[in-house]
């Protein structure tokens, strides 16, 4: 009788741990998804700001067509690189490409004092930098969640639960910190 009770107790404990470990993974995945939506909202906000920025620069520097078109193309590429279609790394590269073109655009704008004095342009720059600051912070929160999840997913014994229930690897989202770069550009 006693060995039976002992075995039962062990099985209950193991079952309890299994439920606990599974639920913790579920909570972590939910936290990762919530963090990702924080990034996604801010990336969309940046995508929405770019056309206004391009239109404002175009009003003062129409002949900088090559730079303007490059920004528009990079924006289109970033918008099309959705996590449903491409990897997180590819999306990050597309966003870096957009950052690079926006940096070029702001560098061009430095040569037009009237443009730099334009209140609408300055307001757009401010919104852009603030959005990029929020992207950088959201990215760190997301990566912190992914790091904690991956640590558990690979550790013994929780790796067994991850393997049984198919908790898959999550990628870090690494992009350039555009906020600091663009804020520095505006201070000149």
């Amino acid at each position: 009788m006693e060995p039976l009770l002992g075995s039962l107790a062990v099985m209950v404990l193991l079952g309890g741990w299994l439920v606990f470990a599974y639920n913790r993974f579920v909570a972590q995945v939910a936290a990762i998804d919530a963090s990702w939506s924080g990034i996604d909202v801010e990336l969309q906000r940046r995508h929405e700001l770019i056309p206004n920025l391009v239109a404002t620069v175009e009003g003062y520097a129409r002949h900088e067509r090559q730079v303007l078109e490059a920004v528009t193309a990079a924006r289109a590429q970033a918008i099309s690189a959705r996590p449903e279609d491409v990897s997180v790394t590819d999306q990050a590269r597309a966003e870096d490409g957009l950052t690079e073109q926006v940096t070029r655009l702001l560098a061009v704008a430095e040569g037009y004092p009237q443009l730099r004095a334009d209140r609408g342009f300055r307001d757009l720059q401010r919104q852009l930098v603030e959005t990029e600051d929020r992207i950088a912070a959201s990215r760190r929160l997301y990566n912190l969640e992914v790091a904690a999840y991956e640590r558990r997913r690979r550790s013994i014994p929780s790796n067994v639960v991850a393997s049984w229930f198919g908790f898959e690897r999550r990628e870090m989202f690494e992009i350039r910190d555009a906020g600091a770069q663009h804020a520095a550009q505006l201070s000149g």
Partner: protein, 257 residues
């Protein structure tokens, strides 16, 4: 005669010792007061009982560095005055105060008969308070991690990238994004280098830095030697905060980062 000589001599010696200790304490207190006045004159500070307009009642229990304790509390050696700090690349003058906070904490003593008695121990904490030019939404608290937390048993709060930072500090704040904007890699490094064991609290438009100053200024007696260093430590800490944080709370114009 011989029987009474021993206790009499002891009493005389005790009286002499008491007088010597009394004189030393009086001289120390006198020198401390003189040095406090000298420091105030040198650095343009004002001795006060209400640093930045905050009374002891305002401070008690409101911040990690100013606990309410179990009986009495108060502040001493408080000085306040303008402090130049670098925020988001700009030099600004803000109000900065430094003082020593004390509170009495209850101790329960067990005696040999199995009974208990209560006593109160006075606990002291060095504090710097700075009035910020903008209000922080909510509250961010960075405090030393407990011993259990350091070994990973009761670690709570918001975890950051640096394992060493997480081991040394517990971070609490309602707005997680603002917390990561405040504690970037450079600030985490700075806190580990120069603010280990100290508490940092941003609440409204006030920064409260608790814990012993990084050093003591020679030439100033006792705790007075900590006062200018406490203010300098607060200025150093504010200078390390990244521009993105100040932009997020509406202090810095992105065009002037």
């Amino acid at each position: 005669m011989g029987d009474g000589f021993g206790p009499g001599l002891v009493l005389v010696l005790l009286a002499v010792a008491a007088v010597v200790v009394g004189v030393l304490l009086w001289r120390h207190a006198h020198r401390t007061r003189a040095d406090l006045a000298r420091l105030a004159e040198r650095d343009g500070l004002v001795p006060t009982v209400m640093p930045l307009g905050l009374t002891a009642d305002d401070l008690a229990g409101r911040f990690v560095a100013t606990p309410h304790g179990d009986r009495r509390y108060g502040l001493e050696y408080a000085v306040a005055g303008p402090l130049t700090v670098r925020l988001a690349g700009d030099d600004r003058t803000v109000d900065g105060a430094a003082f020593r906070w004390w509170s009495e904490q209850r101790r329960t003593n067990h005696n040999l008969n199995g009974g208990t008695s209560r006593s109160y121990e006075r606990v002291r904490e060095s504090v710097a308070v700075v009035r910020l030019p903008t209000a922080i939404p909510g509250r961010v608290v960075v405090r030393p991690e407990s011993l259990f937390g350091q070994v990973g048993l009761t670690r709570g709060g918001q975890q950051l990238e640096s394992a060493e930072f997480n081991r040394r500090f517990r971070v609490e704040g309602g707005d997680r994004r603002l917390v990561v904007q405040l504690l970037d890699a450079a600030v985490q490094h700075e806190l580990l280098e120069a603010f280990r064991g100290r508490s940092i609290e941003l609440a409204g438009d006030v920064l409260v830095l608790g814990g012993r100053a990084s050093r003591r200024e020679p030439g100033l007696t006792g705790f007075v030697g900590e006062l200018p260093v406490l203010r300098a430590d607060a200025a150093r800490l504010l200078g390390a905060i990244p521009p993105a944080f100040w932009r997020a709370v509406g202090l810095a114009d992105p065009g002037r980062a």
